[in-house]
Amino acid sequence: MKLAAVAMLSGAFAAGLFAQQFKLDVDRLSAKASDAVDVSLAGPLLQLGARFLDSKDPDQAAVKKLVAGLEGIYVRHFEFKEDGVWTQADLDAIRGQLKTPDWQRLLGWKDESGGNAEVYLRLDGGKMTGLAILDAEPREFTVVNIVGSIDLEALAQLGGRFGVPKLKNEDKPKHKDEKTKKK
């Protein structure tokens, strides 16, 4: 019984490990981060989560559409209180895995402050089977691996929508009447 449980757990672990298209081996940074996000969602858990998304909410409805063609999503995101916590070696460890014929660099950006961002696509027979996003800024380090086919434009739009800062309470009209009063 115990052996079966161990076998099942190792099987699940192995499945989770191999579902990633490259190793997100950045655990070293986790201990030094002031804020860390570690998401690994694949297979049945991903589909289960999708079932709980509310179609009436525009953001959740957009995510629901994106999830439909996916097998997994893996995110490691770290924020630091000071500069220089991550090193070039951390970046190269990820980047090195993406320098294979399977992956194609789609976008890249680098600035003087040390910011560095790249987007890679994984293609299989001309069909997109994966996405990798690598973003390293002085106080942030992010690696994303999306397994499956995803609409990049829809994902970027979703990011743009999420990125819009919410209005503060004092900026919002408290009542409908206030709008009419101003008029």
């Binding site: 709980f52 976008l107 961002a117 973003d135 999306i146 990011g159 990125g163």
Partner: protein, 109 residues
């Protein structure tokens, strides 16, 4: 032809069949037992018999309801957690992609 009965047999029979008085309070004891145990036995057979299986079924049904409810609750918890993680993951992935696209567009313009 008559056979004379042996004396020892006659004596044995007489002593075995001789009237013996019960010990003191025997009649009262029997009376108490009859009065006390009689109705209990009847109640045990007529009333308790249908109650016990019903209790068993209720207990089994409660256990099934608890197990199913617990599993459904855990599934819901898992789903809600997965949803929250998914929204967070897409928020980060979308923001980063948008961030890169914006910078690349700025540079190209």
């Amino acid at each position: 032809m008559q056979y004379p009965e042996p004396d020892w047999l006659e004596q044995e029979l007489k002593s075995a069949l001789a009237r013996k008085d019960p010990p003191g309070g025997f009649a009262d004891g029997v009376g108490r037992k009859l009065a006390g145990s009689g109705p209990k036995r009847a109640r045990g057979k007529v009333i308790e018999w249908p109650v016990r299986p019903a209790r068993r079924w209720i207990a089994a049904a409660a256990a099934v309801v608890l197990a199913v409810g617990g599993a459904a609750g855990y599934r819901r918890y898992q789903g809600e957690m997965a949803k929250r993680q998914m929204m967070q993951a897409f928020f980060i992935a979308g923001s980063k992609l948008n961030h890169v696209q914006t910078h690349v567009l700025e540079v190209s313009q």
